[in-house]
């Protein structure tokens, strides 16, 4: 059998379908196709064969057993992403159990925490009722020697020492302490400003940073075999419905990756535990792109000192006051700094609390995925800032703490 080309119409047709026909022969072939029924039939048959190959998904899907076997032989863990849905990898029993247990605990904790907060919101009411409660306590004049002692000590604390002690009640040297209880201090303003380590007087005009939440799609398709370009069917006027080659062989990256871009997370701030109440935050996060996410976060955090006022000229400095809050969060994943599967991120959240008009929270940290389970551990630093008006002035109470948490990608 010789290997010479005769440039028959049939040979040219094959080359045309494979996108390999030169322009010179193309024109003459089109002309021939327009009048030769035999050639049209051959074209139709070749397209039928190509179309059937397009449906040969079995050939394009390596079986899960072969994939896991290969990765085992290489001493690698089989990534979830390389096992397709119809050949789902059987995960080890302990792995599944661990995942289910962790998710169950996280969901239970979220529900418990959410319920607790909801009750707290109803009980606490708004800021005014919180102040009213304060007044009623103060009016009972539950004076405590310890509290006075504590206040006296505070009065003597210099600013540097106070700054270094986040749990310390702020210096109130510019106020005259009238009375104090375990939960509140009543002070009369003597001078114009109170500056404390965590409670500082602010300008009344508070501007929050703009929330960054750029939304752009990031669907990455698996690069499929690139099949040949095909003849211009409209030129042939032959109504070829199957002439797009095989460039959509039904394998996209999205089939191999976990489809969801929604995560739930919980985090705690252990160093800010006051009165045995550890600040807890829960949230739902939605990835809008590879880099950006938006989230809604809710939580309860106890602040060391919040300045309120009673009906007179007195101000109240509430010690260890819990605040429920909700913030909208914009998060940026710093993929440029990823190393050893550790994912750094920064985020900013703005919102409000049941006490305090505004809140903004700044957070930076890392996430470390556990196995391929969708569960990640979180570690970072978070600064929360509560801004609120008292006696026509704005106050800000801040708290900086280490956070740790867990997130689960559905």
């Amino acid at each position: 059998m010789n290997n010479y080309l005769n440039n028959t119409n049939s040979e040219l047709l094959t080359q045309l379908l494979d996108g390999e026909l030169n322009a010179m022969n193309e024109e003459s072939l089109y002309a021939e196709l327009g009048k030769s029924k035999e050639l049209q039939e051959e074209l139709r048959q070749q397209l039928l064969i190509r179309e059937s190959i397009r449906k040969d998904t079995e050939a394009f899907t390596p079986p899960a057993a072969a994939v896991t076997g290969l990765f085992d032989k290489l001493g690698y863990a089989t990534p979830y992403s390389v096992v397709s849905g119809n050949t789902a990898l059987k995960t080890p029993f302990w792995h599944t159990m661990f995942k289910r247990a962790t998710v169950s605990i996280a969901v239970l904790a979220l529900l418990t925490f959410g319920g607790y907060n909801l009750i707290g919101v109803f009980n606490d009411g708004d800021a005014d009722s919180a102040i009213a409660d304060s007044n009623s306590i103060v009016s009972e004049s539950k004076q405590s020697n310890d509290a006075y002692q504590q206040v006296n000590e505070i009065k003597n604390v210099d600013e540097v020492a106070a700054v270094n002690n986040v749990k310390q009640i702020p210096t109130v040297s510019s106020y005259v302490v009238e009375k104090a209880s375990d939960t509140k201090i009543v002070a009369t303003e003597k001078t114009e400003t109170v500056i404390s380590p965590k409670t500082e007087l602010l300008a009344t005009n508070n501007s929050n940073s703009n929330l960054l939440a750029t939304n752009y799609a990031d669907n990455r398709a698996l690069v499929n075999p690139v099949y040949a370009s095909n003849p211009n069917s409209s030129a042939l006027n032959m109504n070829l419905t199957m002439n797009d080659g095989l460039n959509n062989v039904e394998f996209t990256k999205s089939e191999f990756t976990k489809p969801s871009n929604i995560s739930a997370y919980m985090k705690a701030m252990p160093m800010s535990s006051l009165d045995n109440n550890m600040p807890l935050v829960g949230g739902i996060r939605f990835e809008t792109s590879k880099y950006f996410s938006i989230a809604i976060e809710g939580g309860r955090q106890t602040y060391s000192a919040i300045v309120t006022s009673d009906t007179d000229d007195n101000i109240l400095i509430n010690k260890n006051m819990p605040v429920n809050f909700v913030v909208i969060v914009g998060r940026y994943d710093v993929k440029q700094l990823e190393f050893l599967n550790v994912h750094p991120y920064v985020q900013i959240g703005v919102g409000a609390g049941n006490f305090g008009k505004y809140m903004y929270r700044l957070n930076g940290g890392i996430e470390y995925p556990l196995f391929e389970s969708g569960i990640s551990l979180m570690l970072g630093l978070e600064e929360s800032n509560l801004i609120y008006p008292t006696q026509n002035k704005s106050y800000k109470t801040s708290n900086l703490d280490v956070i740790f948490g867990i997130s689960y990608k559905f």
Partner: protein, 188 residues
């Protein structure tokens, strides 16, 4: 690693196979995700037998991984992988060539008469009836989407030979399927 693994080119990922184990593992997973379907398609359709295809599919990637070296010139990872798969499959067939008779094919095609993907089943069976030199070239073209030039380089044959073989492979395929294709024409 400063950027996400999917942002690297095939060539960059290939060289990353020589790095530390964690990096190599990520790079390998990404390359596997990108190219495994083509490699498996070649093995599966060239050999016909599923178990054999799986073995050689695994062996292809193991050899590929072993071949990673910083000083190796790598321009086309996809073609390199298919070349490894092809060499393994061709050598395997030389050693142990299974015979597929026309009777086997007919028996098989009769069983498939009610199948939804009847034509596909017939195409798969027909492939096994093609001589190796036609089958491999047909798979490289139709399953792996390689150009005539790429195929010519891979099988180390002149471009014209490739053109002729591809045409003949397709003609053979049409001949085998002719009764079925003609039948389909009547009902259209």
């Amino acid at each position: 690693m400063l950027k996400s693994v999917d942002e690297y080119s095939d060539t960059e990922l290939f060289y990353m196979l020589c790095d530390d184990k964690k990096t190599a593992e990520k790079a390998f997973s990404e390359l596997f995700t990108r190219h495994s379907s083509k490699v498996y398609a070649f093995c599966r359709r060239f050999l016909g037998n599923k178990e054999e295809a799986q073995d050689l599919f695994q062996e292809t990637f193991i050899k590929f991984h072993q071949s990673a070296a910083k000083d190796r010139v790598m321009t086309n990872v996809s073609a390199f992988l298919i070349t490894i798969a092809r060499n393994l499959c061709v050598n395997y067939r030389r050693k142990d060539k299974p015979a597929v008779s026309y009777e086997d094919y007919m028996a098989h095609s009769d069983d498939m008469s009610d199948d939804k993907n009847e034509l596909l089943e017939l195409v798969k069976s027909s492939l096994e009836l093609l001589p190796d030199e036609y089958r491999e070239i047909f798979i490289l073209r139709e399953y792996d989407g390689m150009s005539y030039n790429e195929i010519a380089k891979m099988i180390n044959q002149p471009l014209n030979t490739v053109k002729v073989r591809i045409h003949r492979a397709k003609q053979k395929m049409r001949e085998i399927l002719q009764p079925y294709l003609a039948e389909m024409s009547k009902y259209e």
